[in-house]
């Protein structure tokens, strides 16, 4: 290995650690007890430090109230930190400091049950899958028209679509609210799904792909009496599997992570998607650091798992978004 390589790898490893440290700390904090966090045990290891006092072969956990030189006033607790007695005077020599490695996995169930996270997950899954299916259907139909067919106004529509892609989301947020309110869709699943079932980027991506399919292949099918819709289903789509996967992944991640739209367009707790639910939870449990970390962990877990299984495809999908220039 030459020196350049050594330096390169050193920098990459160092910066890689910085990139993932928030996640590592998130997981290690999520299994700590809140008491430890509050005591300022901020490090990465879920180690609990406490003092004990043994009397009549029974071990008590203690917290110090007042130190008086060779003896102290303490509170006595049992294993579960339930108070047994208060202001007991004991000799300092009988106090033992203990360190214990303990994973508080119950944080996950506590956080999950504190607010209906199960419901939030189901809502998010329902919305995300609906959006992805919708995006693929409308996208492949429109892309098929743009790529294969000739019709009046084709370029007009294409440029109209592309120019709509340039509009940032916050710009149409307010009028969309006015519109959905008028339709009576505020606080419904439609509001989360319908406006998103067409994605211009997907249309663009699929159109590029459909254009690469040999014209002769389609013409031959048409002459054999194959209808256009059938040709789309039987020839065009099977030849475009990887681009469809790209579009699906893109749509799914985008929908799963979207926050501002569902925050504004829904109100009732039953309709909260995961991100909105998590946001409310972070306000309700703002001091419960460990629980917040557990909730964050299980909220991002599905996407991390998806990412680990389809890294190549996902990274290629995101990279392809930059190639249009």
């Amino acid at each position: 290995m030459n020196p350049t390589k050594v330096i390169t790898y050193t920098i990459l490893i160092f910066c890689g650690i910085i990139m993932v440290i928030p996640f590592i700390w998130m997981v290690t904090t999520s299994v700590k007890s809140q008491l430890e966090v509050n005591k300022g045990n901020v490090g990465f290891l879920p180690i609990e430090e406490f003092s004990t006092y043994t009397e009549d072969d029974k071990e008590y956990r203690i917290t110090l109230v007042k130190d008086e030189g060779d003896s102290s006033y303490v509170h006595l607790f049992n294993e579960k930190w339930e108070r047994i007695s208060s202001y007991k005077k004991i000799p300092n020599s009988s106090i033992v400091t203990q360190r214990q490695f303990k994973l508080h996995l119950e944080n996950f169930t506590t956080a999950f049950n504190k607010v209906p996270f199960g419901r939030y997950f189901l809502n998010t899954l329902f919305v995300s899958f609906s959006v992805v299916i919708g995006v693929l259907i409308t996208g492949s139909l429109a892309a098929y028209a743009f790529a294969i067919m000739k019709f009046r106004g084709r370029d007009f529509f294409f440029y109209l679509f592309i120019s709509m892609m340039m509009v940032p989301q916050p710009v149409y947020l307010i009028p969309s609210y006015v519109l959905l309110n008028h339709l009576g869709w505020i606080d419904t699943y439609q509001a989360l799904i319908i406006p998103w079932v067409a994605n211009i980027f997907t249309i663009f991506l699929l159109r590029q792909q459909f254009k690469t399919i040999p014209r002769d292949l389609l013409d031959a099918a048409y002459i054999d009496g194959c209808s256009r819709l059938r040709a789309l289903w039987k020839i065009v789509l099977p030849l475009s599997k990887s681009v469809i996967a790209t579009a699906a992944i893109f749509g799914f991640i985008g929908s799963w992570n979207s926050f501002m739209w569902p925050l504004i367009m829904t109100d009732s707790p039953e309709l909260r998607v995961l991100q909105v639910g998590l946001s409310y939870f972070s306000q309700e449990a703002s001091t419960q650091t460990a629980l917040l970390m557990s909730a964050s962990t299980f909220s991002i877990l599905p996407l991390i798992i998806l990412f680990l299984f389809a890294q190549k495809q996902i990274i290629a999908s995101f990279a392809s978004s930059g190639l249009k220039g």
């Binding site: 350049t4 390589k5 790898y9 990459l12 910066c15 890689g16 990139m19 440290i21 928030p22 700390w25 998130m26 509050n38 300022g40 901020v42 490090g43 409308t138 139909l141 429109a142 098929y144 028209a145 067919m149 000739k150 084709r154 529509f157 109209l160 679509f161 709509m164 509009v167 989301q169 916050p170 710009v171 947020l173 307010i174 009028p175 609210y177 006015v178 319908i194 406006p195 079932v197 067409a198 249309i203 992570n257 926050f259 501002m260 995961l274 998590l278 946001s279 972070s282 917040l292 970390m293 964050s296 909220s299 996407l303 991390i304 990412f307 890294q311 990274i315 995101f318 990279a319 930059g322």
Partner: protein
């Protein structure tokens, strides 16, 4: 041959997508102009007020403050992210082993949700129980207030040398700087893979020729890589600028209470819009005007960058 009739077919294929795009993109944009000209609240349209929302904006200190904060965000995030991502992409492009491993590591923040990430970073920046102060303490520094600090970073920096900087030269508040860090961290992986794709498109022959001519690696970077990567640079520049102008979630979740604090130093334009439209005042028409101003700014910057790109392009 059949006689040529008007063919409805293609339009039927276009219809589903066109309905959605027109109803939920085009109509809202037209509507937002209309809404901004009326006294429009949650109950519906009131009287026509013309341009008074826009003139109100000019005198709204909160608006200028949030615009300034947004500019700080963009001015710090865009160049730092650009340089770092090109740096990482160049390093990754030079190695074979573990390349996809590192690429994935850098990319994880991009696929995770801003909400969860903001919650985690807010706790990292917590003064008492946060990781940031824990590290500072380990390397022998005083703890910082982070998200609770409203003074500007330059002001704090110069104060160390006994120089009292006026507040207008203070720069973004330390709290806003925390947001800057998180925003860079979140977008770095995306920009890196875009750059990596760009670097892989540069034909190797250029570097081989430069090697023969005896040009060093650094010279090669500035004479070959930098000019040839410029289309990618413009794309990254444009995308990062547009995305940074729209920052919302990290402000909403990390700052405050009240959101945008301390002292309004982290209030950005999209949060300002959100607060006006859906906060106490519920002034949808004012919020619409803000949204359109934001749109105008983004559009202007995009067109400027496009123009600049044409001039620089080889």
């Amino acid at each position: 041959m059949k006689k040529k009739k008007f063919n409805f077919g293609p339009y039927l294929y276009l219809l589903p997508a066109a309905i959605i795009v027109i109803v939920f993109r085009l109509v809202p944009i037209v509507l937002s102009f209309i809404v901004s000209f009326f006294d429009w609240t949650i109950t519906g349209p009131g009287e026509f007020i013309g341009l008074s929302n826009y003139s109100k904006l000019i005198y709204d200190k909160e608006f200028w403050q949030s615009l300034l904060n947004t500019f700080y965000l963009v001015i710090f995030v865009v160049p730092i992210s650009l340089v770092l991502s090109l740096f990482f992409a160049t390093l990754l492009n030079g190695i074979k082993k573990l390349k996809s491993f590192f690429r994935s590591i850098y990319f994880i923040p991009t696929v995770t949700s801003m909400v969860a990430i903001s919650i985690v970073w807010k706790i990292i920046f917590n003064q008492q129980t946060g990781l940031a102060n824990y590290f500072l303490e380990k390397i022998g520094f005083d703890p910082l207030a982070w998200l609770a600090e409203s003074r500007g970073i330059f002001q704090l920096l110069f104060a160390n040398f006994g120089i009292d900087l006026p507040s207008y030269l203070g720069g973004p508040s330390q709290a806003l700087f925390c947001i800057i860090i998180v925003t860079i961290w979140k977008g770095l992986g995306y920009n890196t893979i875009i750059y990596l794709a760009g670097l892989q498109n540069i034909p190797n022959v250029y570097y081989e020729a430069a090697d023969i001519d005896g040009a060093g690696k650094i010279k090669q970077f500035f004479k070959i890589t930098w000019p040839l990567i410029s289309p990618t640079t413009f794309y990254v520049l444009m995308m990062t600028t547009i995305v940074t102008f729209q920052v919302f979630s990290q402000i909403y979740l990390m700052t405050g209470p009240p959101v945008g604090g301390p002292l309004g130093t982290t209030k950005v334009i999209v949060y300002f819009l959100f607060d006006k439209g859906f906060g106490e005042s519920n002034d949808l028409s004012y919020a619409s005007a803000i949204a359109l101003v934001l749109f105008a700014i983004i559009l202007t910057l995009t067109l400027l960058q496009k123009r600049l790109e044409k001039k620089v392009h080889y």
